[in-house]
Amino acid sequence: MAERMRPRQEQLVVVGNEPVGSYTLLRVARGPVDPGQPGQFFMLATRERLLPRPMSLCLAPAGELGFLIDPIGPGTRGLCDAARGERITVFGPLGHGFRLDVAHPVIVGGGIGMAPLPFLAERLPGAPALLGFRSRELAEASALLPGAEVVVEPTLVTEPLTSLLASEGDITPFACGPEPMLRAVGALSPRARLAWEAPMACGYGACFGCAVAVDGALVRLCVEGPVLEAARVEVAVLPAGGLRSPSGAASLASRGKAAA
């Protein structure tokens, strides 16, 4: 941890909270907090919930920190509802972000997995970007990454990536997205740098809740990751179907309704 910024815990003031398609861009005044490296994350405390929620830094305009949030549950909904002027406890930057030391980076994102990519793109000027979304509405968030090539299901983001890999063999994907997407990207390019997810209670190595298998051993994703090299990750220990796989996401509700 010596070379990285020491994480700070601060109460930061919300300066903006705007919808971006189905997501919300939450902006807070940065105060003394360092934005860290792309791919690092912050723990954001949410109103009335016991545990904070991990959020990648999406944008780092002067004096601010910007987070792109998908309101999928009580914690993320609470953050999306935060009012201007409200204070939010922010702890970070945490974990290991993307190492940028490659010749031909390509940015690849899927759905809310695009959250860390705008900040990453700033640090990788000129890198091509490919984004995939489940719907047109979700794809509106691609406005945060101008110039990106955007595909919508049934087209998957791995399709343009496969073409790119075929034409330019020495590229290195920098990817964030649902687990099946990360697996697919890792299969296409074992040196890909992938930002994984796991449920996190603390974000700083205290709880051992975020274990994933790397090189065959369980490690804490918040300490060793969240960005890991594709070939090192044994995804089998992630929850069946992954956290954000289509099957995991297919809810009882939607399935029940379809059957009704």
Binding site: M1, Q9, M43, A45, R49, L50, L51, P52, G73, G75, T89, F91, A198, P199, M200, A201, C202, Y204, G205, A206, C207, F208, G209, C210, A211, V212, A217, L218, V223, V237, L238, P239, S251, L252, A253
Partner: protein, 307 residues
Amino acid sequence: MRLLNASGCLDALTAPEVAAALDVFVTKTVTPKPRAGNAPVRIAETDVGMLNSIGLANAGLDRFVQETLPRLSRLPVPVWVSVGGFSAEDYAASCAVLDACAEVAAIELNVSCPNVEAPWASAWEIVAAARRETGKELYAKLSPSVPDIATVAVAASEAGADGLSLVNTMRGMSLDPRTLRPTLGTGSGGLSGPALRPIALAAVHACAQATDLPIVGMGGVSSGRHTLEFLAAGASSVALGTVLFSDPGAPGRIRTELSAEADELGLASIDNAIGAAFRMPAGVLEGAAVTKPPKSKNRSISGAILS
């Protein structure tokens, strides 16, 4: 009054500045052999606390002693090692090894009921076996999932424990809101946080009444007021668990809140609040001496009638 972390709720190597803000650092439970722990999902949040099913993930005693302990010894605070196992022999073997380690200030025995048939019997067995192998301070950490925790505390005391750590988590469960299947990979897990607080407070109070051992109180402590309550119930130290996940600055904040509580109560030291729940109203908190709660060897079980 000492402020500790609860075992498994802080890694001093990834967060040395948090550990340095405590009076004692307690390690995550170490078992004789390495354990990968349980399959994910390992943590979940409920409205009243959090659930975990870490499954005692740890690198095993050998690597702990060789790699971790030397690094922990650089901390500015004493280190307690939490020891776990699946038989009394496991605990004894680990204590024998740790007894030789100068860096270890005390050993906490994570007595997580290998023998569900008689919790006090297994507590007695484990503590007695550990006691034979070490002269270091031995704290017995007890589960609240028993009909009468005071009987377990008495057994631990009679087997030679030097102190009690109260309490460990309770079994709990939450369901995924969409699939209605258990959120945790293991189905159920350990409930910690706010829901545990009244239960832990009752456990501390009952054990302070039944034994003379010093008590480390824990369970849902997240403020100076909560800390004060555990002291009043009879604890002389308090450990922070789940609160550290949302607030790594909790040790400093709680110390500040505790001094404010002491001022408010007109106490020269917060230590004067220890055991306040046992004092008669007239004598409450007067004088600096710590009143020991009364001991009753023949505690009546009729206290078990609740509703």
